[in-house]
């Protein structure tokens, strides 16, 4: 018998790049509007994601709180277990824990080291350590990360099993996630085509490990910009798209069904002439391939495509709307888009 798939849901992926009070206010609004999840990233050396998530937990009561992804190179996996269990207690069981190798970030920051040269092993061992410590099991002897038998979480866990999501991009990591993780979180500018490809990779890994692919949840950030002014909403994503088209792994671009000549033109222009010049070359076709941008009808149609591609958790990410104040766009998304996407 197949495992039941995770429910389809709409959440919000925040930047964690603004003062804590602003992040908390948006998370609170998301809960009041009935959104299901709010995710906070750890993309660089910014505000501590677990501390900020604890503030979100204190200010909300229902919405699930996704942390991620965090990497095991900035703190030992046993510390990730400690932080996650503490947050799970503070939030009364609302944590979704994302872990990932964060290779792009580590390389960009010049912090990749011997351990991060073995991302797959590091990731699998991190998951094993986190899970074993949450369950109260003793000792994991790994090649990259180990904990001795004496190491144990010395306080009661709210849940012995916090869902662990892996931040994965390429096929190898996606397949390993299918074998090991409770879920996968895809990253920037995921397209429906990339979601479909990822779903297949995860399923292959799951089957090879004797698991039902339906057991593995799939969530992704989706570049969303919604506004009654369709043009303003679409224009608002151009520079973000140019930046990420320049930055993401090739597989994210090649699976999107986008015109690859347009993609390459943007990439090269960003590299040679900067972001602004690249943004001017972002076509409507590229926007439609990599984002859900426009008026509520446009965004609904696009998000339906993501859902049909197999995405269970759609995380509205980055722009949300063209106005600096995101509250109005969030309201539009919740009231005019959400119900129709999952109808």
């Amino acid at each position: 018998m197949s495992a039941p798939a995770a429910p389809r849901r709409l959440g919000l992926a925040l930047s964690n790049e603004v003062p804590v009070s602003a992040t908390v206010a948006l998370a609170r609004q998301a809960e009041q509007l009935g959104l299901d999840e709010v995710w906070l990233p750890e993309s660089g050396h910014g505000r501590g994601v677990f501390t900020v998530a604890a503030q979100v937990a204190a200010a909300t009561s229902r919405i699930k709180i996704g942390v991620g992804i965090v990497n095991p190179f900035w703190r030992h996996p046993s510390v990730i277990a400690m932080e996650a269990a503490t947050l799970d207690e503070a939030s009364r069981g609302r944590v979704l824990l994302g872990v990932g190798a964060a290779l792009w970030t580590l390389r960009a920051l010049g912090e990749a080291d011997d351990r991060s040269e073995r991302p797959l092993t590091a990731m699998v061992e991190s998951i094993r350590i986190v899970r074993s410590m949450l369950r109260g099991e003793r000792g994991v002897d790994g090649q990259v990360f180990s904990v001795r038998a004496e190491a144990h979480l010395d306080f009661p866990r709210f849940r012995a099993a916090i869902p662990v999501y892996v931040g994965a991009v390429n096929g190898r990591m996606l397949r390993a996630s299918g074998a090991w993780a409770d879920g996968v979180q895809l990253g920037a500018i995921a397209s429906p085509g990339y979601v479909r490809w990822s779903r297949d990779q995860i399923a292959r890994g799951a089957r090879a490990a004797g698991r039902d692919p339906a057991e593995v949840d799939l969530v992704s950030n989706v570049l969303v910009s919604v506004d009654p002014d369709r043009r303003a909403a679409r224009d608002a994503v151009r520079s973000v798209l140019a930046y990420y088209i320049h930055r993401v792994e090739p597989v994210v671009l090649s699976t999107a069904g986008a015109d690859q000549r347009e993609v390459q033109r943007v990439r090269l222009t960003v590299i040679q002439d900067g972001l602004e010049a690249g943004a001017e070359l972002v076509t409507d076709g590229l926007i439609d391939a990599f984002a859900a941008a426009g008026d509520p009808d446009d965004v609904t149609t696009r998000l339906q495509e993501y859902a049909r591609a197999g995405l269970r958790g759609i995380l509205a990410w980055h722009v949300i709307g063209p106005q600096p104040d995101k509250a109005r766009a969030l309201e539009l998304l919740a009231r005019e888009v959400r119900a129709r996407v999952f109808a």
Partner: protein, 318 residues
Amino acid sequence: MPVGVICHLHNASFADVRALAEAAESAGADWLGLPDAFWWRDTWLLLAEAARATTHLEIGPMVTNPYLRHPFHTVAAVATLQDLAGPRVIVGLGAGGSEVSGAAGVSRRDAPARVRALTTLLRDVAAGQPLDPASGRTLEVPVQPTPVLIAGRGNGMLDVAGRCADRAMLWAVPQSDLQRSASVIAAGAVAGREAPGQRPDLVWAPLVDHGYRSRAQVRTIAAYSVLNSHPAVQGRWGLDPAKLGRLRQLLVGGGAAAAQELVPTAALDDLIIQDPDPVQVGEFAAELGATSLALPAFSIDEVAGRVAWAREVLGPRG
């Protein structure tokens, strides 16, 4: 003179920390330190709770270590806490307990150098310098200058405290080793500071048995202190490497009660001040050169009494 409270509630929960922070603030304490104990609840999350519960108490990890989190990550955690608590954040640094770093497979051999590097990093970034001068990358959130307290028992850590800390803490150091420890800090200050006479504030955190219900916890702390005391002092107590190894094994495995049985009476007498007379202790503190006192809190209802006792010890200085 400042009086600090160091949380020693076992497995302090969010509710415990909230109550403790409120009790410490209303008792007139100046700061509250929360342990970064592996693997208790995460200190930075608990500190955020303490920040929410208080308005003027200084708060900070007491102590965090430079090993199990990347130094940049610790700087970011400080910045995040400052976002919640403003200028009330202090940072306590130490080597990390030998028993837990052992469990994570971490060697603490270079602890003094690492603690010094983290102290320098915190100050440099707060002064607007990049996280890494070579690449120029910066912290992505603002961080303000914050007092750094360094605690230790070994010569290396005491020396570093003298060289670079704003506050140096002697926590549960045997009475027979206090003057020597203070002199190592003073020598570090002479050797490592540009301005003559400049030295860190000396925070004395004695292990005091007030006869409260917390007597058993006082003895547990003594057992940890025995493990981390200066080798010469351990030798005087008659502890050889085999006995110390057994003690470490018991403490790591959660056998604190059994560990206490291995602590020699001479060590307990040296580590614990019994029936403390505030006048006598005050004279001793003055002789030591302590400029502030810190007291462990084993239960919330003891906090007011301990803070009041500390004020008596400091007398007119307090």
